[in-house]
């Protein structure tokens, strides 16, 4: 949109407000006790305060699912829309209002099942926003149905004898899409890593896709036990251009240097091989961003009518 950018910018410069974490906190979340969504919310609130984002120019867009209730628990603008359709809504917002900070929150079903087409294309558009996929490997809100990311043989209400297919690997899939510019993975039960990853995603110019491994004590507790209890099952990808978290070296001994500009290494590391890798897999800020390729002039209603009159001349009788 054309109008408010400058005035808002001015406003931002003049702004002397300082925001505390509490300034971003909405009502008490209604997730189950121990649900990983709580941790993601906490890390996000920390990020907002850390970056001093203005609540009124920050928008959280979500789909439908447990995870998609996210925006309700923040004191920013929020759009809790349709199951699977958060990305198109976010695209519309950012195309119209590049001045806003846009975050997208999706569940695994939301993003990779019903929303798969939009996921592919939002990745390709590479519009500057942060997209969080809260992956609990299950449909939570509708009470325990198999999701594309449910591991093979894990039972659910719709596939009571276990999921038939191996879990879709969302990191690998995103890395296969042309123009993907930022792909990361983190786990909500390692708050410093989660925070650092969110921060890197926020600072990336382009579409930053973050898959967050998220516990669902209600339906998929066994799937997260290993990761929780055995830090050695986790390998941290570290790099100056990716995520480096001081203080995690002791708990997480497996650390590996990985340069996120290397797409080939990224794809190899993303493969399923028994290790859970956390960090930035890939990052490239040189790729075209859809919204930038469409710079809009600011014109007034009067100017519009004058130009429209020129157009009508071409149709004049």
């Amino acid at each position: 949109m054309t109008i408010p950018v400058n005035s808002l910018l001015q406003c931002a410069l003049d702004d002397e407000r300082i925001f505390e974490r509490a300034d971003y906190e909405g009502p008490i979340p209604r997730w189950c006790p121990g649900c990983g969504d709580h941790s993601v919310l906490a890390a996000t609130q920390r990020l907002l305060a850390d970056e001093q984002l203005q609540p009124e120019t920050t928008v959280f867009v979500s789909g439908i699912g447990c995870s998609s209730r996210f925006p309700h628990y923040l004191k920013t603008y929020g759009f809790h829309g349709l199951h699977g359709r958060a990305l198109p809504v976010a695209t519309g917002i950012k195309l119209h209002r590049p001045d806003l900070d846009v975050f997208v929150v999706m569940g695994d079903g939301d993003c990779t099942s019903i929303g798969a087409g939009h996921w592919v294309h939002a990745t390709r558009y590479n519009i500057d926003m942060v997209a969080l996929m809260l992956d609990n490997n299950i449909y939570g809100l509708t009470k325990n149905q198999t999701s594309p990311t449910t591991p093979q043989n894990y039972p659910s209400n719709t596939q009571p004898r276990g999921s038939w297919l191996p879990a879709l690997n969302p990191v690998e899939a995103t890395l296969g899409i042309t123009n993907a510019s930022f792909v990361a993975q983190t786990a909500e039960w390692i708050p410093p890593h989660l925070f650092a990853t969110l921060k890197a995603a926020y600072h990336h110019k382009g579409f930053a896709f973050v898959r967050i491994l998220q516990r669902c004590p209600k339906y998929t507790a066994p799937l997260f036990e290993e990761g929780l209890k055995n830090p050695d099952s986790i390998e941290l990808l570290i790099h100056e251009d990716g995520v480096m978290v001081d203080g995690l070296e002791n708990a997480y001994k497996n650390q590996m240097r990985h340069d996120p500009s290397d797409i080939h290494a990224a794809r190899r590391l993303a493969e399923e091989d028994g290790r859970t890798r956390l960090g930035v897999f890939f990052r490239d800020e040189s790729l075209p961003r859809y919204e930038e390729l469409r710079r809009l002039p600011v014109i007034t209603a009067e100017e519009k009518m004058a130009r429209l009159s020129d157009e009508l001349d071409l149709h004049a009788v």
């Binding site: 408010p4 695209t91 294309h121 519009k304 149709h315």
Partner: protein, 601 residues
């Protein structure tokens, strides 16, 4: 002279010596079509004829003849491509009846038009004659066979050596015949040659001067040939143009109307017959700070438009039936969250893929009732190409004022029809005001409806103090109780009632009382009113009423209906089978006609 006069003639034309070699028929109107293989340029010929005719002060309605394939095999009956131009001394509001004069580049495309019943029984036909002696024998025999089929008719067929003539100017006659034909038609219809040259210059403005010159040479050639060889001319009185006019098709009008409304984002996915509106816009929108977003599908297009509206100025999405189907869920959301949104549905034949290039009005019920859940919103229909422009301004304003979804039902007839209309007097007030980003007054909350009007304030991102989460989940937004749901349902419905109370009853066309009232909506207006005129001229007591709003309906209808003995609707869709024994009850029953014959291609 190679013209071979047929034994059958449509009209007696005096050709005795001493009298002028041709007769001039003075007519109130006439319909001509030019039909060729696709790629031979008949469409351009028709467009220029239409534009010139409009400039000369005649009423005109031009419509494309579109083949079903992108590039059908040459000389196939289903492959005819071209333009159909109805010329009148008064304003012309619809495509009219059968074609009276046909220029055909080969006998097969003519056959296609003939078989569809598109031609008047006594039509005059100017037919390229190269095929009769074609070296390819199958072509020769196809020609003979077609001729035999035509013998069953009263057509007057005049064979024209188009190719032979054109070869005197160009090497590839496929790239020249259309301008030769334009010349012939200019002679027949007394068209101003200067205006023809202007239009040729405009049509080929991106091409070289040489091309322009060659085309003008062909124009003159055709004109001269007709003058020397034809025995009839047609004269249709015109009124000098007193006010500025523009000429365009309905899709172009929608695109320019969207600009006039101040909209800045159009989200779409290609679909016939809606796409050309986005072609027009894609070309010019940037100059206005606008963006045409071609989304990955129609669902995403709706989502992008809603996201854009949410963040500020009202956006729109444009599609046809199958795309409307895909947007259904998002429309329900927009109603629930009271997000202003304009949706243009350029209707085509359905259901499913249906008849993508044909007009139909069969999306009506889906537009009004298609969204699961109680989802009151607005449905409007432009009736003319001029309406296509202005409806966008109105739709945007209603969407914004009432925080609602406005579906605009255009159709293939309007989308591809070309007609001159009064040049809009552009008003900067049409443009949406920039959204108010000032702080939300303390204590004001979202969903605080004014109980009288059902209206409430929309908070836009950027407004300090307005932070809240819009949601289609009635429970997470307020509370999970039936009282809350009852109230919000009432509010969503009430504002539509308020809109209705602001509307005027529609005006009856013809007498205010009588035996029969014909009710229509959308692109049938011109045809219905012309039919009413004719029937009234025959002494029948018929009037008509045209609805601009399909939901909510304009007020006063019951009272108007009560003044007529019978009320019927005319729509281009299929209602229940008359076989059906159903009785009574609440189902809408509609009398309908399929009216795709005339310009079926």
């Amino acid at each position: 002279m190679t013209t071979k006069a047929q034994t059958k003639t449509a009209r007696a034309v005096s050709s005795d010596s001493g009298e002028p070699r041709y007769e001039v028929l003075e007519l109130p109107e006439h319909t001509v079509e030019i039909v060729s293989d696709s790629g031979e340029g008949a469409q351009k010929c028709g467009q220029i004829l239409g534009a010139v005719t409009a400039k000369m002060g005649n009423g005109v309605w031009t419509v494309e003849i579109i083949p079903a394939e992108i590039e059908p095999p040459p000389r196939s009956p289903a492959g005819g491509s071209g333009n159909r131009v109805r010329i009148g001394s008064e304003a012309v509001t619809n495509w009219g009846d059968e074609t009276q004069l046909v220029v055909a580049f080969n006998e097969q495309v003519l056959l296609g038009r003939h078989r569809l019943g598109a031609l008047a029984d006594d039509a005059t036909i100017l037919l390229e004659n190269i095929w009769a002696d074609h070296p390819d024998e199958t072509i020769q025999s196809a020609w003979e066979e077609a001729k035999r089929e035509f013998e069953q008719t009263n057509y007057r067929i005049i064979e024209v050596p188009m190719q032979e003539q054109c070869l005197t100017v160009v090497e590839d006659p496929r790239r020249g015949k259309n301008m030769f034909v334009l010349g012939m038609l200019a002679w027949i219809y007394h068209r101003d040659l200067d205006l023809c040259r202007d239009q040729i210059a405009h049509a080929f403005r991106k091409k070289s001067e040489e091309i322009y010159n060659r085309n003008v040479e062909l124009l003159d050639l055709g004109y001269g040939w007709a003058e020397e060889n034809l025995d009839f001319r047609i004269s249709i009185a015109a009124r000098p143009i007193t006010e500025p006019m523009v000429v365009m098709n309905g899709n172009e009008a929608v695109a320019l109307g969207a600009i006039a409304a101040g909209m800045e984002l159009a989200a779409m996915y290609p679909i016939t017959p809606a796409t050309s509106a986005s072609h027009e816009l894609g070309d010019v929108f940037e100059k206005f700070g606008g963006v045409v977003h071609q989304a990955e599908d129609e669902i995403a297009a709706a989502g992008v438009a809603i996201g854009a509206s949410y963040s500020g100025k009202v956006a729109y999405t444009i599609t046809s039936g199958p795309g409307l189907a895909l947007k259904t869920e998002f429309l329900g959301l927009a109603v629930m969250i009271e997000m202003p949104l304009v949706v243009v549905d350029v209707q085509r034949g359905g259901p499913a893929t249906g008849l993508p290039t044909k007009v139909e009005q069969s999306d009506l019920l889906a537009a009004i009732f298609g969204q699961p859940g109680d989802a009151p919103h607005v449905v409007m229909a432009p009736a003319t190409i001029e309406d296509c422009f202005h409806v966008m301004v109105t739709a945007r304003r209603i969407a914004e004022t009432f925080r609602t979804v406005v579906i605009v039902l255009s159709d293939a007839n309007l989308a591809t029809g070309v007609q001159p209309f009064r040049r809009p007097e552009l008003d900067p007030a049409w443009v949406a005001a920039p959204p108010d980003l000032s702080p939300v007054p303390e204590g004001l909350k979202p969903y605080e409806w004014d109980a009288k009007t059902g209206l409430s304030r929309r908070f836009v991102p950027g407004q300090p103090g307005g932070m809240y989460t819009v949601t289609g989940d009635e429970s997470s937004r307020v509370a999970y109780s039936s009282a809350v749901h009852q109230h919000s349902s009432a509010m969503r419905s009430r504002k539509i009632a308020v809109l209705q109370s602001t509307l005027e009853p529609p005006a009856v066309y013809g007498d205010d009382t009588g035996e029969l009232l014909v009710v229509g909506w959308g692109s049938t207006k011109g045809a219905i009113e012309e039919a009413v005129d004719r029937l009234r001229a025959d002494g029948m007591s018929v009037s008509s009423l045209h609805l601009s709003f399909l939901s909510p309906l304009e007020p006063g209808l019951k009272e108007i209906f009560s003044r007529f003995e019978k009320v019927m609707t005319v729509e281009i869709n299929y209602s229940d089978d008359p076989w059906r024994s159903t009785t009574a009850t609440t189902r809408p029953r509609r009398i309908s006609t399929k009216r795709t014959a005339a310009v079926d291609s």
